[in-house]
Amino acid sequence: MWKFIHKLASPPHFYGLAARMVPWFVLPGLFLVAYGTYAGLFLAPMDYQQGDAFRIIYVHVPSAYLSMMTYMIMAISAGIGLIWRIKLAHAVAAAAAPIGAWFTFLALATGSIWGKPMWGTWWEWGDPRLTSELILLFLYFGYMALRGAIDDTVKADKSSAVLALVGAVNVPIIHFSVEWWSSLHQGPTLIKKGGPAMDTAMLYPLLAMILGFTLLFGALLLRRVRAEVLFRERRTRWVKDLILSGRSA
């Protein structure tokens, strides 16, 4: 087991492996998203309260889930890098941040667009779910700004890892905010006692979208980590050999 982890954490091994893995994420990811989009827009029945506006759920929920999951990946990777000094873990954390920021922006934007016809407002500052999700976006920005402000990679890794770990406390706050406080945002629909509170005709496209988004996120993360590994290892022999061999980027 340790031998496998040790081999996986080796930058040259990971660089080659990630390139081979990307298509295995992209193809099923695109298929699931295509199915989820078609079924969500045209096959799922209309919601009896929200009408067709509920169809925004098919992009909003996967984005919101990925915004939180990406932060957890970033924080766990940063923690692993900090404790066990695994360089690849810091590379994963650094690569995850911009993707997480984009998904958080998407969750906020689609949520806001959904909020206008349902709540009558684009934004409500007093709402705990909205505000804590916005804090998540600022945490991503802070993490990236901190990394960018420090030239020394080792120092940048350590400082940003501490910020990532401290900020992780916000993730359960986002998740449970609708249960802990009064919120405009609806309560949990998927993960709740007694199972999902949705008809299967609505549920299956949503699950397909969540899985599809996750796979496409995986492909994006692998691409970003490859670039990060290449940058960090730019002075090493294997990178020089790779470039001189003329293999494509």
Partner: protein
């Protein structure tokens, strides 16, 4: 036409789906751009080192 208007919610729904597509395209484009830039920078550096040796 009915499926496009979505009972008046069409502009909200379609905007969200289009925005999602745009974000995915940006993420993919930026990931590729970053990889290409890093690769090219290393290539230039190796070439420069080779020229001086």
């Amino acid at each position: 036409m009915e499926s496009l208007s979505m009972g008046g919610y069409g502009p909200y729904v379609w905007t969200c789906f289009m925005l999602t597509a745009v974000v995915f395209i940006i993420c993919e484009w930026r990931a590729r751009l970053r990889q290409r830039r890093v690769y090219r920078d290393i290539e230039v550096r190796i070439k420069a080192l080779g020229d001086t040796q």
